[in-house]
Symmetry: C2
Subunit: 593 residues, 2 copies
């Protein structure tokens, strides 16, 4: 099979940095009421992230003078954002409205829902954070890396709580199943009706294989729901979730058949899975060792809160590995995505202090592959297979289940909640569009009852309908790079991409300020282009060209350094392209003495 | 869901450039006979690519003075090879043996099997190319881009042919089903026994859903096969192929229900699928327009050779689109992977001259997603969905089927061929390891009968067994970048990656050669780092630091420019890291006057 690997499109990035061509309305139905007066009787919905990507979730519901913010998450960098640490939501709109913010509600403790807090909390006026105990602890753990950030104020919530923000605006909390304990959905009681944001969820299944806890959705349906949002991360996945009971059973089977050590790679954020694995290990009489900082820290928090219950002596430090026989050891490790510095990578590449791979080891990858990580994971498994260990991954057996509802579960929720209007959230347009098709299929919603908004587009939820207004709020990427937040923009990124593709050539010419004549053989330095040392002919030709360019200009009165630089950039750039078919960045420097 | 995106590992690249730590034997079984005398009665197998990646397929079988080369393919660049056009096999071993090369046999006309020919043919002594008519035409089409390359000599082959290279060494050609017409497998008759290289294949299915043409494999099995190679691209995919008859049926269903134009995105290399689509279009009374250079060129070749049969008037130029009603139009387009300049991207982004998206259009993506292209394809579909067209992809319906046999088909071939030894090819170690597990399951092969070699490792196929010798042949990546072949190495790539991550800062200090004193305020130029203009304080601080460094050294006799440069690199690098937590490349230039 043969096909061209797609180059990253500049379009993608431009779109995301807010320079999109929005000539096509970004909604399925409803009426675009362009630039008309806002309807003061409507609830406004705006997402600052999470509608055109997976991650960076942050949205508001506002009614007149009350603004409620839901989540403040981050997104990991992409192919076209080289060198960037995180991408966070643009909160400039909220900064203007900070006096009206009644609270920041956190649906659950994952980084794509809480990770932007240290960067944006102060900017939006340090509102009270409504979060569960677990989410609070994870947020506070992270906050310790930001000693200058203001102290957050928490209000701890639990399922069944009601938060009254004003006479017109209150929120009920309900518990949902996800991949971390204490996941929440929200019912907003507003003057236009009830609006449901179910957080992120999937179905829980009993040992009989039947979904449990559907009563929650039935009860919501009975209340008469005006608008349902829905996490559509898995809207292209057919069928139902793999039951966590099946995952448990399959893991137990593998664990039982393992003759040596068991080493499980997973995400530190999959706390529910981690709890299951520890439980099975304990049941089979193995001690559990945790390898990886975030894993240890998350398990410690969950134990302190009673969310993971283990007997004394089950969890032992990996440093004590020599005290136990191989068939009594279960190691839980981060790094199943092939992250370079993570524990699993160190184990497999031989760089882990306590754990080296043995042929009798059984490695279990209990997590899915995040798009973009295929190669790193492939590499990890190649290295592992070379060492002769036993390997199981989720493609071979049902040893992983996503935290997000697939198609049939999404449809079931739509049927049970039976909303009048539908507003898919979390994920790209096409995925939300697919989910809109599901909604039509499942509950026969007409086009005008479904809104596919984009980040920054104001959605008015009125008594009699729902639609995108013409108003647009800044929602472009804010890039975090080292200590800088927002100081890396499109120009810096474009330069990084150019440098990555073709490297660069710096040309330094020292000229006499008065005569314009070259004082010294031009210096040429290149990186990422070709080895100039191996290309002396090319180097000589470039030097001669530079001398000629400067010579020609030195006879002209109009010759200023910028003009000479432009000539060098163009002519040397073209010359090098002709000779090599490569386009390095050309940086001419003229030093006048 | 939250997880860290894996950073590209330097390890990956190093491994592939041949600096791997091979402390672990790279074979499942057999005995590593390290550095012993070669067995002159054995056949030697060496892969120069295709054993640690998908692509770059090129391997040899040699017996004493006869070397037969199979395929010469390219691989597309990877995340850790920025700016590179292609990766090709390392042929230095073959260059030494060129007088013994009896021929280059091409299994089929895909670029991962023929794409390196223009780069390596002359180097390996311009041997006769044994290829089908179709492969020859595709090779010659490509050759026209390389006017200085020598004229290739072809020997046209077809299924059933026997090629006798010497008394001891002959090859029988047999036809296999793939995704391009005229795919071939090879049976090598050697003094040690018969060795089968089945090319790339999948099963063909009848209308009754039963696999057709299994007789080929049965016949091979009857001959008594010493060693079977097997393309394991899909060794992690369970079950059987989706039948192309099902694909045809599903496509026809969609085409029939389409009210407006039909636009199908696919690969130009999937010639079998293209033929099916044209046939259905013709049957439904639609004219077919081809959009995309490689598509037009491939269809033209296939028609000329009678491999695609269409009535006169079925294929019309896309320029004549205005002459036809929408419901009479079927457009076939390249670019289903979201490639920036491909036809489908231009159609969807509004840049195609003749075709703009209409709401009544039906878009069909009849190809799978190549890992690494997820984002580009997502972007393409987002843009399309925004414009309100109908969209179908292979996840929604059975409208694509891979050209590579999945697990059950691989097992079936193993059972029918029933080889004594097994040598999985095409794809990473873990995938070949998985396939080895299949072989044990399907035909009960013992570990020592299976060899998992790596690129460049010599496998001896002897009468009484098969194993990796200690000999290692150069098989590292050769990178093609513009006109340069092999001149971009690890240093240039590492620089590109560093530049991409943190940008760079050039520091130019002009000093008096005699006194070592600074003659001029140092020049600082940066790209891809931060906007220095917005960071005047930082700029001033850096300038002062540079002045101080030079001042300190100017008092010392030992101060040479290299020493000053090293000081600037270290101290300014650390200073900038402290201030920004970023690590740009620091390039100090000292100009002595």
């Amino acid at each position: 099979m043969t096909t061209q690997k797609a180059k990253t499109t500049q379009n993608t990035y431009r779109k995301r940095t807010g320079q999109a061509n929005r000539s096509h309305p970004v909604k399925l139905g409803g009426e675009t009421k362009s630039k008309r007066q806002p309807n003061s009787n409507a609830v406004r919905f705006i997402a600052f992230g999470g509608l055109e990507e997976i991650g960076r979730n942050m949205m508001v519901l506002e009614y007149r003078d009350d603004v409620i913010v839901v989540d403040a998450g981050l997104q990991f960098p992409e192919e076209d954002t080289p060198g960037i640490d995180y991408i966070i939501p643009n909160t400039s709109y909220l900064e203007l409205k900070k006096r009206k913010i009644r609270g920041l509600i956190i649906t659950h403790g994952h980084y794509d829902h809480i990770g932007a807090i240290p960067y944006v909390l102060e900017q939006i006026g340090n509102p009270t954070i409504y979060a569960t105990e677990l989410a609070k602890e994870i947020i506070m753990k992270r906050q310790s890396d930001f000693p200058n950030a203001p102290k957050p104020n928490f209000h701890i919530i639990k399922g069944g709580d009601k938060l009254k923000f004003s006479d017109n605006f209150s929120v009920e909390i309900f518990s949902v199943e996800h991949s971390i304990p204490e996941g929440f959905g929200l019912i907003f009681n507003t003057p236009v009706g009830k609006i449901v944001h179910p957080g992120e969820f999937k179905f829980d299944y009993g040992n009989d294989g039947k979904p449990k806890g559907l009563g929650v959705w039935e009860n919501i349906g009975k209340q008469g729901i005006h608008t349902l949002m829905l996490d559509i991360t898995n809207s292209s996945v057919p069928g139902w979730s793999v039951s966590e009971r099946v995952v448990e059973r399959e893991l137990e089977k593998i664990f039982k058949s393992a003759e040596g050590r068991i080493i499980v790679g997973t995400f530190s954020s999959l706390l529910d899975r981690i709890a299951e694995i520890i439980k099975i290990g304990e049941k089979l009489g193995r001690v559990v060792m945790l390898s990886g900082y975030s894993l240890k820290s998350n398990v410690e928090i969950a134990r302190r809160l009673g969310l993971i219950k283990v007997k004394k002596g089950t969890i032992v430090p990996v440093e004590e590995i020599r005290n136990y026989k191989d068939d009594k050891i279960l190691i839980l490790s981060t790094g199943a995505q092939g992250e370079e510095k993570a524990s699993l990578m160190r184990i497999i590449s031989g760089g882990h202090r306590q754990v080296k791979v043995k042929k009798t080891d059984t490695f279990v990858f209990s997590s899915s592959v995040i798009p973009g990580n295929e190669r790193s994971i492939q590499n990890l498994k190649d290295n592992l297979a070379r060492q002769g260990a036993h390997i199981y991954d989720y493609k071979m057996l049902d040893i992983h289940s996503s935290g997000h509802a697939p198609q049939e579960e999404l449809k079931k929720v739509m049927e049970l909640v039976n909303p009048k209007h539908f507003l898919p959230i979390h994920g790209n347009f096409f995925m939300r569009w697919q989910n809109a098709q599901l909604a039509k299929e499942a509950i026969g919603l007409a086009n005008e009852k479904i809104v596919l908004a984009d980040n920054g587009l104001v959605v008015e939820i009125a008594k009699d309908g729902i639609g995108v207004t013409g108003e647009e709020i800044p929602a472009s990427y804010v890039l975090v790079d080292g200590l800088g937040v927002g100081d890396v923009g499109e120009v810096v990124l474009r330069d990084r991409r150019t440098l990555a593709d073709g490297g660069m050539v710096v040309i330094i010419a020292v000229i006499n300020k008065k005569t314009g004549q070259v004082l010294k053989n031009p210096d040429i330095i290149s990186r990422g282009f070709v080895y100039l040392r191996d290309n002396q002919d090319l180097l000589t030709a470039v030097r001669n060209k530079i001398r000629n360019i400067i010579k020609r200009t030195s006879n002209r009165r109009s010759a200023d350094p910028d003009y000479i630089k432009a000539l060098i950039r163009d002519q040397i750039g073209e010359f090098l392209f002709k000779k090599t078919q490569r386009r390095p960045m050309i940086l001419p420097v003229i030093i006048e003495l």
